[in-house]
Symmetry: C2
Subunit: 436 residues, 2 copies
């Protein structure tokens, strides 16, 4: 399916480079090594930093729930006393809005990080790089990352910061060496998770890994230990932030492979979807927002849906989520569709991936490895874009459902053009119907 | 497919009776209420009782691994000093060999119970009846229930009796009201378990339910709590004995429904498969041993296989195991076969079941309820017998693999004849090719 206009030598160079990127993606060894405040543990994070999802935009471009979430972050951090003051300081550039990805972080939905928020620190022991993700906010539909900031949301964020994070930090410290996440993720794929919109098994396996250290903390922190056990046990999505940090640590290791056309990050803001490509440096290739098939909670309609950002698609970047949907038949209940469609979508992803993961495997597909390493060239050639399992926010804020989205082709076309321009290919041609 | 020779009135009576049996099978509410020594908690269990799997046989009929296991039980309980003495006392009838099912118990493989062995006490809150199962012996391939008794096996049984059981008993006591098993089982079916040969998720969910009470016991029993956390966490089959006790408590509630042709127990010894039917009292209808397709551990061949009994097929009796195989694609790795065959076998079971479970459901089948209530009439009419997920023992003792077995048609034919004789049916006729 390669364009005949492309020199064979360029294709061979790209294939070789993509093998290197694939090897980095599949050999990653993410380990949770610490839990601490973003301002303390994330290099470059200042007291006035607010991170949010998506390729960077000027402050005035943020709208709706993502804008409200940024303002909420400013208020939570005490950088302004009122929403108006927050908007003024943001407009004046006194508070720096950053892109999560640029500081090694990944944001869920609106993806707000402030300096005092606790983050999970995940080290990729295979490559030595580190990535971060903040914590799941709990089961309430109203959450800061879904564009809501009120007394309840603040109370939950404080509880995470003051009660849950310190005891988890102590527990991780007691493990000496941290908690390896790859074995949990491998196992969870055999237990009905696809590790994006379903993390039920992974959360249980992670909780089990915490049992022994939490027992050892019982006498020192009796109440906190019980709160942590309850919080981790009651929230099936708890592990999502760990799988995101693991995926970021994995994808980052594949950055900067000369001539590789493999995607190393996908993200969206309230305005744009964007991707980065291994051999194309730090440039974001931007396109329109993804299209969505959602299952909404009772009482909501499609008119209520608002895309307010999201970087949990880092998981799809490394072969999870939509790329492992066949592992998670129970997900149909949450995000709609049927098992047959989920399997079909999953199989389609093999068309655009450069390889299959040797250890992350899908029992329902005869233990076939998940498709991994999205190749922008293959995406453009086939017209197949990544399928994404995402949570869905509402215009009024809060979660209103979940669904299956499709990344826009335009980002991949832009990246493929840049790739051809840089790497001597005569151009990667889309199939006639690819953009249709 | 009903035999035209059968009066319509008899069929209508049977259908109505089977609805009652089905309702009892599907409304059960099994709760783990206690853990204690069989001699203390099982009514009718004496100091000289040894229970074993299968419809009762005279002592001289027990051979191979099941015979060795019975002797091992006698030695473990201190009822004889040597194997020879044990054999003499058994032959003399000084030690009573009983069928597990007759005391509300169910045995795994050879299924040995002695008075001092701890058992799980499971109450079916919907019907008020109680059932029991003893504990998983741990990961060693050498286990008493697999026909081995030596110093290692004895040490493990003592560890269960002296360390694990007492702390679990305390933990269950602390829950006040016990641990409901139905929610765990429902959930586990959405997480890749079929709750017979795969109990990975259920074990984790059960461990999670124990963690809060174990935390509360940490100061009183620090070492025992840690041992219990380790034992339950490290043994993915731990929950099997709880699902067996739950299944027994469920199936027993459906016994004695006048005119019902629903199976309420299946069991096998080293010699025979046998079933009981709701409307036919306590009679065992006996037939040959099941046929088996096994995946054996490295180094073993089919010649090494020995059927030495098994009552874990109580799980199939209530719609689990082979009747829920489509829920557990990862099982192909353990017992062989392919996802496609597992799904096909599972679908076949709907042909012989009187209904579908309202809450035990299979995501991969679009959340269809598991087939439940095996109807001996349908089995004989279709020639389809229950598919069974079982562990496989070796002639030298110990586990040598796992596989998918088929119950023999003869038991069902015998039961159908008895049913016709008792309930005025002109006879239930097998399809011409049914026995072929």
């Amino acid at each position: 399916m390669r364009s005949t206009a492309e020199p064979a030598a360029a294709a061979a160079t790209r294939d070789a480079a993509n093998v290197v990127a694939l090897e980095r993606l599949t050999s990653a060894d993410p380990v949770l090594v610490a839990v601490g405040p973003a301002g303390d543990v994330v290099p470059g994070f200042t007291a006035e930093t607010i991170l949010t999802s998506g390729a960077p935009l000027p402050w005035e471009a943020y709208t709706g729930g993502q804008r409200r979430a940024i303002v909420g972050g400013v208020l939570y951090e005490g950088l302004a006393a009122t929403a108006d003051e927050a908007e003024e300081r943001l407009a004046a550039g006194e508070i720096a809005i950053g892109a999560c990805h640029d500081l090694g972080c990944v944001g869920s939905l609106a993806g707000i990080y402030t300096a005092s928020m606790p983050v999970f620190v995940v080290e990729n022991r295979a490559a030595g790089n580190v990535a971060f993700c903040n914590s799941f906010e709990g089961p309430s539909r109203k959450r800061l990352n879904y564009g809501v900031y009120d007394d309840d949301v603040r109370a939950t964020l404080r509880f995470l910061q003051d009660v849950i994070a310190p005891v988890l930090a102590e527990a991780v410290r007691l493990t000496e060496g941290g908690i390896p996440l790859a074995p949990i993720m491998r196992r969870a794929l055999t237990m009905g998770d696809e590790l994006h919109s379903r993390n039920t098994a992974a959360t249980l396996l992670f909780a089990r890994a915490l049992f022994a250290p939490l027992l050892d903390l019982e006498r020192r922190l009796p109440d906190e230990v019980r709160e942590a056990v309850r919080f981790v046990s009651d929230n099936d999505y708890f592990f999502l932030r760990l799988s995101m940090a693991a995926a970021k640590a994995t994808a980052d290791a594949a950055r900067g492979v000369e001539a590789s056309s493999v995607v190393t990050a996908m993200t969206f803001s309230c305005r744009e979807y964007a991707i980065r490509v291994s051999g194309l440096g730090d440039e974001w290739f931007r396109g329109p927002l993804p299209t969505l098939e959602a299952k909404l909670f009772e009482g909501f309609t499609e008119d209520d849906v608002e895309l307010m950002g999201g970087e949990s698609v880092i998981n799809e970047t490394v072969g999870l989520g939509g790329f492992a949907q066949a592992a998670a038949p129970a997900l149909q209940d949450y995000q709609g569709g049927s098992v047959e469609r989920m399997v079909a979508r999953n199989l389609e992803m093999y068309e655009i991936a450069v390889g299959e993961h040797p250890t992350l495997r899908i029992p329902a597909l005869g233990f076939r490895g998940v498709p991994v390493g999205i190749d922008v060239v293959r995406v453009v050639e086939t017209g197949i874009t990544p399928t994404l399992d995402i949570g869905v926010a509402g215009r009024m804020g809060g979660q209103i459902g979940a669904g299956s989205a499709r990344a826009p082709l335009e980002c991949f076309e832009a990246a493929a053009r840049a790739y051809a321009a840089r790497y001597d290919g005569a151009g990667v041609e889309a199939r006639p119907n690819a953009s249709a």
